[in-house]
Symmetry: C2
Subunit: 432 residues, 2 copies
């Protein structure tokens, strides 16, 4: 891994170190996704069958997982994995439930009440990738909050396996949203189906979940269409930034860096430390652990664009992290909580030596669908609120309009909007 | 206005009635906005000067409003308007403050705590249009929640007037965000400046505010760029749906329809009523009120695509409204609160005869930046949360990892992510 001494660098070089590999969407992907949308719009399920045959190598007549396949899934998943899915779901539910927004009301003038209420988004579309491995954990992270939000219809797409079935662990996890409809569809065609609707796949109001460059581009194009639907957030390669002091455990830190690097060759991994000793110990541990890692080839490619950075002190590390706005931030320092108020941008934070990022990926209770690529400067990870919308409500009595109406009329006249003023003044005349 | 009997229509015709005028972005606008972004990226402030000369007809050397101009604004705004701005700001603050999310924490397993904390978005960019009239109310709706969120830097762009000054009422309203920096820039060039940054305009993390088709397209293009910034919501023409029963006041209803119609020729206005008498009375009132309306020409064009719809009963009206998902929904019925739980999609709701939409536009306390074009199915209006992001935090002790770690390790193995499993298992060995 490349070693860098932050305080030997000029500003342009510092900026270059924090530069993420640019995820330029190729014209091939953009045009390919457009073609998928056009085909699904024109030929519906027939187009989905063609794409599934071409990209997944499976001929499917019917995409939806039926009761039989759901029932078989329970037999196909080992008991310890079933128990782990249930345990993780319970912890995700406990944390997400506590964050559900409550309606509130304020009397903003005598006789005038304003409220804010929450409503579930009626039909949500979830994408659970399979890529190098199926991800039941992602199904949990989407289905548990969708259920808590009260979404009436939950649609989930996940790519079919070579034999035409869905991954049984994903199906078990999906059951966390009772009544979920699972379709064996992957890639841009899955997103197009949920965005446009077909004879078999319902059109959804908002799309959620991570995916590869094709899925991400398809979500963006779905959001751009006139009358388009909402998406959860822009998705990109996963990333972790670890801040470690001299007391950190080098083996733990190396394991955390590698657990991010194994996600994909475009994952990005940064270590910031004020200790030369720790930096070298982590570098050695990374090499040692790589020798026994099944996905070492992927991890080595990710490490090529990753950095071990020597900083002056933890304060400087925090400033660099805030500028970078990492998806995951691990604070492997002696008093991690003392720094928490200083962190202004990160997707999720892991405090101390005993909190690996992998815990948050699966079962600490927090959501693992998080903003990447610096989006943490303005975006939040998923929560129940992501599956709801808020509506404001106001009600004035005669007293209320008498109290607040004159202010509205003055401002309407100032803006040259006479019909606005009249809607208030007509009532003021009669309320008097 | 066109009269329609809902129960005489077949399904395709019903769908057509609820169809909004398609806001197809012309290739001219798309290419024009692209050119603006390219010019601002290449030539920075020089490009801004050129566009301002061309589109606003003003030669500006410096865009930023200085202390002198702020001071003069106070003298230029009539006292009653100043008082109304202060009164509206106080009510907006009261309502928005009560909705600020609180951090919370849950012990999801013994020794494992998960939290969610809020942080202000550091640098926000606000757009206040001037179009046919400057909109100080929009400056209030953006600046008050930005202040409550604690945003460190607030940048506001608004088009210059013919004499090169900014509208003084907008400046007074902008002062609701202390330290706000106001730039006299309009249109796509204002959005490009805040999205890209120039020598004089800071690059922002998230852009807010309504605008015309050029501004809307510029916000979309800003959000699409690699490493792009966030935007508040897709913007479109304003709209209102009124549900009225036989007891409603026809003059009030007509005034509410017209106050929406005067916004612009693409505004959309719908009345749903179970009363033929009321429907005809409203139609007559609309014509009568139009004769004395200064912006009657604009309103008449909007009314061309608007509808008076006779429905079977209020229940049917609610179902139609939920399918349409209006930006503004007025319930001019006898027991409005009895229907509130049945509304599942709307930007903001106005209950009863004495609550004109204009009250919410200015000073009920709720925000007037709301989802349009059916986006209320999945989006919320602005709130303090729009100017913040949430970060999740987790901390495990040795006990915590011992309790939750095995679940994570099992799921990591099930997903074939051995480095994830190892980051947990290394700690489990040492925690024991």
């Amino acid at each position: 891994m490349k070693r860098i001494d932050w305080n030997q660098l000029d500003e342009p070089t510092r900026a270059a170190v924090l530069q993420r590999p640019v995820q330029a969407v190729s014209n091939t992907v953009r045009a390919g996704v457009q073609a998928v949308f056009e085909a699904v719009a024109e030929r519906g399920d027939d187009a989905l069958r063609d794409f599934t045959a071409r990209f997944d190598g499976v001929a499917l007549e019917d995409f939806e997982v039926g009761a039989d396949e759901f029932a078989r899934a329970a037999d196909a998943v080992p008991a310890d994995v079933q128990a782990a899915i249930a345990e993780a779901a319970a912890r995700i539910e406990a944390f997400h439930r506590a964050g559900i927004a409550s309606p509130y009301a304020v009397e903003t003038a005598p006789g005038l009440t304003c409220q804010r209420v929450q409503r579930p988004i009626r039909r949500v579309g979830l994408y659970v990738p399979a890529g190098s491995a199926p991800l039941p954990s992602t199904a949990l992270m989407l289905c548990v909050p969708a259920r808590l939000a009260g979404c009436a219809e939950v649609v989930l797409c996940t790519p079919p396996r070579a034999d035409g079935s869905a991954d049984p662990a994903v199906l078990l996890a999906a059951r966390q949203a009772p009544g979920v409809r699972v379709f064996k569809l992957g890639g841009a065609q899955a997103i197009a189906a949920m965005a446009l609707g077909t004879a078999s796949v319902p059109r959804c109001d908002k799309l959620f979940g991570p995916g590869n460059a094709w899925v991400d581009e398809a979500k963006r194009q779905a959001a751009q269409r006139p009358g388009g639907i909402a998406i959860d957030m822009p998705a990109g390669p996963s990333e972790v930034l670890v801040i470690a002091d001299s007391g950190a455990n080098a083996a733990f830190v190396a394991a955390d860096l590698l657990s991010q690097a194994e996600h994909g060759p475009d994952s990005q991994v940064l270590l910031l430390t004020d200790s030369d000793l720790l930096l070298e110990a982590v570098a050695a541990e990374v090499e040692a652990q790589l020798t026994t890692l099944p996905r070492a080839a992927i991890a080595r490619r990710a490490l090529e664009s990753s950095r071990l950075v020597r900083v002056r002190d933890i304060e400087q590390a925090i400033a660099i992290s805030n500028a970078y706005a990492p998806e995951h931030l691990i604070l492997a320092v002696r008093e991690p909580r003392a720094w928490l108020d200083r962190i202004d941008s990160a997707g999720s934070i892991f405090l101390g030596d005993w909190t690996p990022e992998a815990l948050g990926d699966y079962c600490s209770g927090s959501n693992h669908v998080l903003p990447t690529g610096g989006a943490a400067r303005a975006w939040s990870g998923l929560s129940v609120a992501s599956f709801q919308k808020a509506i404001t409500v106001q009600e004035a009595s005669r007293t209320g309009i008498a109290n607040a109406g004159p202010c509205a009329a003055i401002l309407a006249h100032a803006e040259g909007l006479q019909a606005h003023a009249r809607a208030v003044e007509l009532r003021l005349e009669q309320a008097a």
